[in-house]
Symmetry: C2
Subunit: 141 residues, 2 copies
DNA sequence: CGGCATCCTTGCCGATACTG
DNA sequence: CAGTATCGGCAAGGATGCCG
């Protein structure tokens, strides 16, 4: 295996179970984290604004997810000593390296939504046919 | 408002909780689904080959995830009537529209891994300072 | 080889109450 | 406004056994 110096990205393999990248992937592979990161691309946002924009997220989950993203260095948290207190969340430079990727994943569903129910209907229909065909004819596709 | 040309992406908003795109995002925001989709980019693969490559995934979870991806039209399943039976999984054309996005997300961790532990260490250190400050004032009860 | 069925444990999340 | 703390339900997922 050739090693020509430079950043040691090849020292990590997300397919290996003991690799620390698995932990990071776990963090990113979360619906709420993706929505938060995507929402912060427009600029810094206050806690309750995030909560209102991301429908159905609870305060607890929003806090937990923000803490994890902050710990991993993807999101920054700034407290302003107003009364009452104001807290602003923003992407860090590291977090901004994810913007394009997160955006395309979060919005892929919006772009391709019409195709999904059709695929689901076809799949479910094929299941019904299999059950009907039990005991009659074994037909392979 | 009436439109021509079928459903548009703007008809869907992933931030709305009643939007069907949330269900699709849920499917994609899954560590195992991302690893499977990424692994299939190299070409069709048999079940046990996927299981071997994606370390620590169990047979149950692999099966479940593949079924869901198949139902959503992202992955195809082909059975060959060999003895014993051979089953091949591959990306569908719809699934291939996700390849770039999934790949960059799945491997972002590998590329940026060195930065994450530093951020975590800094974050944890700031927490320790907070706790020490509290502990000097209030003794543990 | 490529599954499915079952049991059982964990941890995630919602709901709720309280605080600076 | 922006959290922390606690309880409880339930579903995701591991372990195991069996099958065409």
């Amino acid at each position: 295996m050739k090693r020509t110096g430079g950043p040691r990205a090849r020292d990590y393999d997300v397919y290996e179970d003991q690799c620390p990248t698995r932990l990071v992937l776990d963090r990113l592979a979360d619906k709420w984290a993706l929505l938060i990161l995507d929402r912060l691309q427009a600029g810094p946002m206050r806690f309750n604004l995030l909560k209102r924009d991301i429908k159905r997220i609870t305060q607890k989950v929003l806090t937990q997810t923000l803490r994890k993203l902050e710990r991993d260095g993807l999101v920054s948290r700034t407290v302003f000593a107003t009364v009452p207190v104001t807290v602003e969340y923003a992407l860090t430079p590291l977090g901004e390296t994810l913007t394009d990727t997160v955006s395309s994943l979060a919005h892929w569903a919006e772009r391709n939504m019409p195709a999904v129910p059709k695929a689901q209907a076809a799949f479910d229909a094929s299941l019904v046919r299999r059950q009907v065909a039990v005991g009659t004819v074994h037909r392979l596709r």
